[in-house]
């Protein structure tokens, strides 16, 4: 009886070990896929308009299927789909992955910001989009990348959003101007809203000859 108990315990321990090994492999494969995918994305993002090799999409799709609860895999896959395609169907799928990633990790401002980008590209810029933009800005007020995305999309939509969303956009533009004025000025210029960024230069202890100041002064000089 004692021997049977020992065997039972050993069998249970073996089963637990096997399960843990399986899970480790599963997460390992998904982690490797997301790391490789991120590396490939980083490499390709340095080439303007560069395409990402399609096999990373396959790897990440498999990883997402094996470990559906891994937000990194889903977010990397979403980015890869959007990067590689201009097809609305791919954007829809990317949106699904980002929503799933947010369900797993709702506190990431990056994921909210990325979801805002995908929704904007899908033309889905209703109240849900505004809420996503505000969530991103509330969760990552000091994250430069989030500042840039919220400033970019926010300035694009500035005249169309609610006063509350506009206030959130203003806060992010102001924060971005403190952190990286050149980047925010470039975004504001592209969006034809240099004034929205330049007004946050006021009161900043910047040398009069700084590039940002010059850009804003040239804007004021333009009739």
């Amino acid at each position: 009886m004692e021997r049977a108990s020992r065997l039972l315990i050993a069998a249970g321990a073996l089963a637990a070990l096997a399960w843990m090994a399986y899970e480790s492999v599963r997460y390992g494969v998904s982690g490797t896929a997301s790391s490789n995918g991120a590396r490939e994305l980083e490499k390709m993002s340095k080439i303007r308009g560069g395409q990402v090799a399609p096999w990373w999409r396959d790897d990440l799709s498999r990883a997402a299927a094996h470990v559906p609860g891994d937000p990194f895999v889903r977010e990397t896959l979403a980015l890869l789909m959007v990067r590689n395609s201009n097809e609305p169907a791919d954007f829809e799928e990317a949106q699904r992955h980002l929503v799933a990633a947010i369900e797993e990790r709702p506190g990431s401002p990056y994921t909210w910001a990325n979801l805002a980008v995908v929704k904007y590209r899908l033309g889905d810029t209703g109240p849900a989009f505004e809420k996503i933009l505000v969530n991103a800005s509330n969760l990552g007020p000091y994250e430069p990348e989030v500042q840039q995305i919220v400033s970019d999309l926010g300035l694009a939509m500035y005249d169309e959003v609610s006063p509350a969303t506009r206030a959130a956009i203003e806060r992010m533009v102001a924060a971005g101007m403190k952190r990286n004025a050149a980047e925010i000025l470039q975004i504001a210029s592209r969006r034809g809203r240099l004034g929205a960024a330049c007004r946050h230069l006021d009161g900043e202890p910047r040398p009069a000859a700084s590039k940002s100041t010059q850009i804003c002064q040239s804007m004021e000089a333009t009739p």
Binding site: E42, G49, F72, P88, Q148, D152
Partner: protein, 263 residues
């Protein structure tokens, strides 16, 4: 945890980079401008948005859009226009690529960029059944119900229509109507004979000069030429409205344009 944050930041960075990937950036919009990708419903297009290969840009009534492509090419669309970026490839390292823009309806002005300057044969525009090849060009094209007008402000083009090909130089213009002889003349002559919708599309380009100059700062003289052309067109357009010439005009009636010969 820090590693995760860095990873996430990188992911976000990819997206900001994505917003500036290959294609064109909208430098100015007026009125209602939208973009459709494939069969998807059109979505609003705003200043600073990106346009890529496969996108169709649509302007509404009293609307306009100016796009600047990665190679510096500038395209201005007037109201009620539809233009598809049928093909746009550009490699900034080698400054090479190819461009095919298809004007489905309305009017566009195109000032070629690096691709057009380095390899003109790699740039082409389509309007209805006409194909336009360029040689360092500032060209305005308008199409309505299968009729096509092209006016050239700078450089030259090859204009192919229903099996005929013509070479046109700065100051020339051409009117092509399906099943009829192609008419070649000056911009004023051709505009006088063009259908009203085409006249309107070309005249509207004059209002876009400031936006075009802003997108293509080096094209000041071209802009002035375009303005003159627009003003000429305006005068001719008024003339046509008064006397009705040109609507049925062929072979140079009204504006004095001659029939072009195919090459």
């Amino acid at each position: 945890m820090k590693k995760i944050s860095v990873f996430l930041a990188l992911l976000a960075l990819f997206f900001t980079d994505l917003a500036l990937a290959a294609g064109a950036v909208v430098t100015s919009t007026t009125g209602t401008v939208s973009v459709a990708t494939g069969q998807a419903a059109p979505r609003s297009l705003r200043t600073g948005d990106q346009v890529a290969q496969g996108d169709t840009i649509i302007t509404g009534v009293n609307s306009a859009a100016v796009l600047k492509f990665d190679d510096g090419q500038v395209v201005a669309l007037t109201s009620n226009s539809r233009m598809q970026v049928t093909n746009y490839q550009y490699n900034p390292q080698t400054e090479s690529g190819n461009v095919l823009l298809s004007l489905v309806s309305g009017g566009m002005r195109a000032i070629t960029g690096l691709i057009g300057r380095r390899a003109p044969s790699q740039v082409a525009y389509r309007a209805a059944t006409a194909t336009i090849g360029i040689r360092g060009t500032d060209v305005t094209i308008a199409t309505s119900q299968g009729d096509v007008v092209a006016t050239i402000s700078e450089g030259s083009i090859t204009f192919s229509f229903e099996g005929q090909t013509f070479t046109l130089n700065a100051g020339d213009a051409v009117l092509a109507r399906s099943g009829q002889l192609v008419i070649k003349g000056t911009a004023a002559q051709i505009l006088a004979q063009a259908p009203a919708a085409i006249q309107q599309a070309i005249q509207q380009q004059a209002a876009l000069i400031a936006a075009v100059l802003n997108a293509a700062p080096g094209s000041q003289s071209q802009g002035q030429q375009g303005q003159q052309q627009g003003e000429q067109g305006n005068q001719n357009g008024q003339g046509q409205n008064n006397n009705g010439q040109g609507q049925n005009g062929q072979g140079g009636s009204g504006g004095g344009g001659g029939n072009a010969s195919g090459s």
